[in-house]
Symmetry: D2
Subunit: 341 residues, 4 copies
């Protein structure tokens, strides 16, 4: 249920509606817009009688929301959400390019590369300190040491940093070092983790699960938002199919559909989907052409030496080529180009 306030409604009107919602043992979620405020209602098991709210001062309309997602939907918030990360505005007119190694392996591999990525036009640095690996016997990341290296790379490159959180116990640690908390595909339905990052003040980059429907994807974001954290960036990274030539099947159709039904920004990770570097640049171009707000790509100074995902990592030369391609295609979808370095 969604209560839409008149454009002239004052704060006391809004407060009164919120109190009425609380009296119904439900939770109000005021969503201030440029023109008017809407108040989302969550927690109702049974339908609520709309007349209990529609007669209150300042209320223009009470809308039944039939979709199971509410806070993520455009019905509740028609305007695009822009997630601010330092100077970077994900979901704004400019596209966002996030780049970096799959996992942080050493200071030497990470810090100079971060500076070069910045020089080549990247907007944010990615790098895993905690790695979700299919086998318990493979490299699992450097942990806090990796986070410290990322922090130094940020300081030297002035790029904000995104890194993955795998369990609630590491939340404080991650929060101390990174600018954006990534929730990986394997944890998209780890609801406890979603709730906890929902209580964080850091923006969250939520990757789509490898077999998640669109509705499940939005409901995972809903878990985060229902806890109060409205700064969620969605990330398409490929779904599991019978494909014989790529690791996952990148589902670019979801980009315009998310744009249609949700106000959240959405970016694309072509590296994990493809699993081979030859496909990364064309897919990054296609992602932007489909309307994505940015791309996240794996870049490694020496891909052949990478301890994970080397086959899909771009080297710095290929990253420069990617940036050049994006600079050309971005204005063709009426987005602002990333600044020429």
């Amino acid at each position: 249920m969604l209560v839409v306030m008149k454009s002239g409604a004052v704060q006391s009107d809004i407060d009164r509606v919120c109190q009425a919602i609380v009296d119904l043992q439900l939770t109000p979620h005021p969503i201030p817009g440029k023109v008017r405020t809407a108040i989302g209602i969550t927690g109702n098991v049974a339908p609520v009688d709309p007349t209990l709210l529609s007669s209150l001062p300042g209320v223009i309309e009470v809308i039944r929301v039939t979709k199971p997602y509410k806070l993520t939907g455009r019905e509740m918030k028609p305007e695009d959400t822009i997630v601010q990360v330092g100077d970077v505005r994900v979901g704004g007119p400019a596209i966002t390019v996030i780049a970096g190694p799959c996992s942080v392996e050493s200071r030497e591999q990470t810090v100079p590369a971060a500076r070069q990525l910045k020089d080549l036009g990247a907007d944010m640095l990615r790098g895993g300190a905690f790695k979700p690996r299919t086998s318990p016997y493979t490299f699992q990341g450097l942990g806090e040491e990796g986070l410290r290296i990322l922090a130094e790379a940020r300081q030297q490159s002035s790029l904000p940093v995104v890194s993955e959180l795998m369990n609630t116990e590491d939340l404080e640690l991650i929060e101390r070092y990174v600018d954006v908390i990534q929730i990986g595909a394997r944890n998209m339905q780890n609801y406890h983790l979603l709730r906890r990052v929902g209580q964080s003040r850091k923006p969250v980059l939520l990757k789509r699960g490898m077999a998640a429907t669109l509705e499940e994807f939005l409901l995972a974001a809903e878990y985060i938002m229902a806890e109060g954290n409205r700064n969620v960036v969605l990330c398409e990274r490929g779904v599991r199919t019978f494909s014989d030539y790529s690791r996952f099947t990148l589902d670019l159709s979801i980009i315009p559909e998310i744009k249609r039904i949700s106000h959240l920004p959405v970016i694309v990770d072509p590296s994990h989907a493809a699993g081979k570097r030859a496909l990364v640049i064309p897919l990054a171009r296609a992602a932007i052409a489909a309307g994505a707000d940015g791309v996240m790509v794996e870049v490694h100074a020496e891909p052949k030496k990478a301890r994970s995902d080397g086959a899909q990592s771009l080297d710095l030369e290929m990253f420069a080529e990617l940036m050049e391609e994006l600079r050309i295609i971005t204005p063709a979808v009426r987005r602002e180009g990333t600044p020429t370095p």
Copy 2:
């Protein structure tokens, strides 16, 4: 196996190699290139001793081809294939836009629309006369009457025409009326049909089966090419997945992969994949950005009245918008734009 001839090899050298191949009870496929001729060999069950051929005059190299596809692969023919249809060159520098109704329903619906599509910049007209329908109780197309309407539309619009062939018995009929024979997704592994269009002189537009791997897709093209018809255009149209918001999942990653391993042109049909028109324009943009040689879209003058696939058909206004978008994005991938009308 592939025999690569020296650039200075003369026809008698080539003939001698072909004869040696025939003597081995195999079939030679001479593939003349700009610089040199290669001779593909098919029909071998067991491996062939390459020294039997490598010592012949004019031979520079004999290459084992380990992939099951041969004629479709870049190893045999490194240069891009361009399929000529009237004045249209599919796979050349310019992208190709094929548009028209799902099925031909009447003269009135088809002929004026064809002229308008031409005016708006379409390169080819599509329209089904024989329709593969999931249910035997739904509209199955007008048959020959539909083909006659298409022929009139071609005459009045000067657009070449592509229409689907569903069984071998209709081949002569289709050949008489259309410029490009379409093989639909449901018939991608109808091998008898593939062989028969392989004997036709008309170019073939081969749609990917809804659960076809890349290798199966190329081997379906191989069936056509092995019969002598080298004018095959591949078409990605979405694969079947668990998707809850689109009819099929458009697999754009296959575009750069096909470009890498095959010389055949490849286009994309976003209409059938999406199943709803709101996704068609962004996906068409993404297809071109991924490197596709063109798009095929459903356009209906009055989508609400369409007897099939109305929900995914663009109207003429949306088609004009699509063409405008493609005009902007095409140069960004260094392809020639379609001429402004």
Copy 3:
């Protein structure tokens, strides 16, 4: 739409209703049951007014059928269909075991094996004369020579024979030699072929397409039945998924669901689904336990020498073991066991 006649309705009542349906430019399909006759109606694009029929003498009820399939549904024919093939009754109390080589390779390989299969308890002989092969360069079957060998094997073993038809042109040939016409998974939506076998008097074994939904599967059977051939046996053979250890994913859940909504018999082919012989016996057991009316398995006297699908073929010893297992499990699902040889 379905017209249900009173149990006491006489033939002239039935004829009158059929005529009324014809007058509405629709097609009546009388389906005589043990107790009463129902008359299915097909061909209606728009809804029909039921009162036009419900007032006729002998009519007890007129039921709107909302599912797109009609003739295949239990609503139209509540009683199980039994398909008679010689002495074999597919869908009756006893389960049916169909066995034989993937493709007929020689008289020597086929005829003695058929006799042994009969001795071991098989009910029908399978064997491909026309083979749908992914690659044009692999063994495509012996054609008519293969059919002749099958006919001899039938004569010597007294097993009825099932073999695949791949295109309409071979229909008369196939009809001459085989007892059951198989439509393969790749042709499940080859509608022209379906219509043509619908006009045949031979029973049809229809394999599920590798990405076919249940509705599409039943509608493919509907194509056959709408032409008048009611002797259709459905066959589940695995669907395409991301599985990393089997060729296809055998979907046994479809067995009880088909039994619930359709009256047609359904058997299971575990050999093609598994792709490896170690899984065939447990899956055959599971198929019968799930309620299947039989199984179809690949058996080759010398699997290592098979020209196709050797890895999944049982040898005769394993087939004997399978029969032993089935003899034990069949009574546990209250089906009649196959006779002990």
Copy 4:
């Protein structure tokens, strides 16, 4: 790598080999068998020279294990693992039936039903106290109150209890109340959680992720076992496909394949896969016929009142019917039947 000791090897031989492995900075995992002991080695990034170990006293063979899973594989432990839960032996000659409501809703709903399930022949009680729900706005379980109710149900029915753990913070709580810790499909790759239950002394029931390959499934079990907990029961519960009639596609082929390559017991949950109760009994029968060590089914005294998954829950009458069916089919696969109540 796996070191196989002679049957006559004494403890000091085993200790010496373990020490040698530790000296190589690797981890030894002694696996005592009935006849001989094998010592698994984990932790090696690079290959280890086998001669360093093969010359030690008591060693009969050093085997390279090429599969990424080790502790879960039959190569390391050829004998079936039996997981003991109270008097129940999962993976032994008798099949195991686990039954109970999707979620624990009240004392009244749970305790009497547990006694009835026991009377009808169930071996274990299932019930969720913490529920992973796709939407944050649906019933999430009673938490510790639910666990207390389960404990009372156990006391009154003497059935061991299995319940799901969703995050590490609840581990001690769950351990206090339940006999088997369930890891749900959505958490199959929540590696932190897997490691923590690997340190628990309670057996773990690990459900397959909805898009997990067999290798990923076994590697998830490997995470648990590598921490020392060898009591893992695998559970197939359906994978995500395009199916239009069931919630998931139950992949019964995985049962014989797991039995072939792993020593771990494996059970099947037909309720979540099917999503409708009409399919549960036939699929349970098929699971046992395929070789599963047991089934886990949802049973609710009043399915229509269930707060989650009511559509797929059996009522007690249907559960009695299921038990009757299993009693008939179990001996047909040469397993011991559950005792007649």
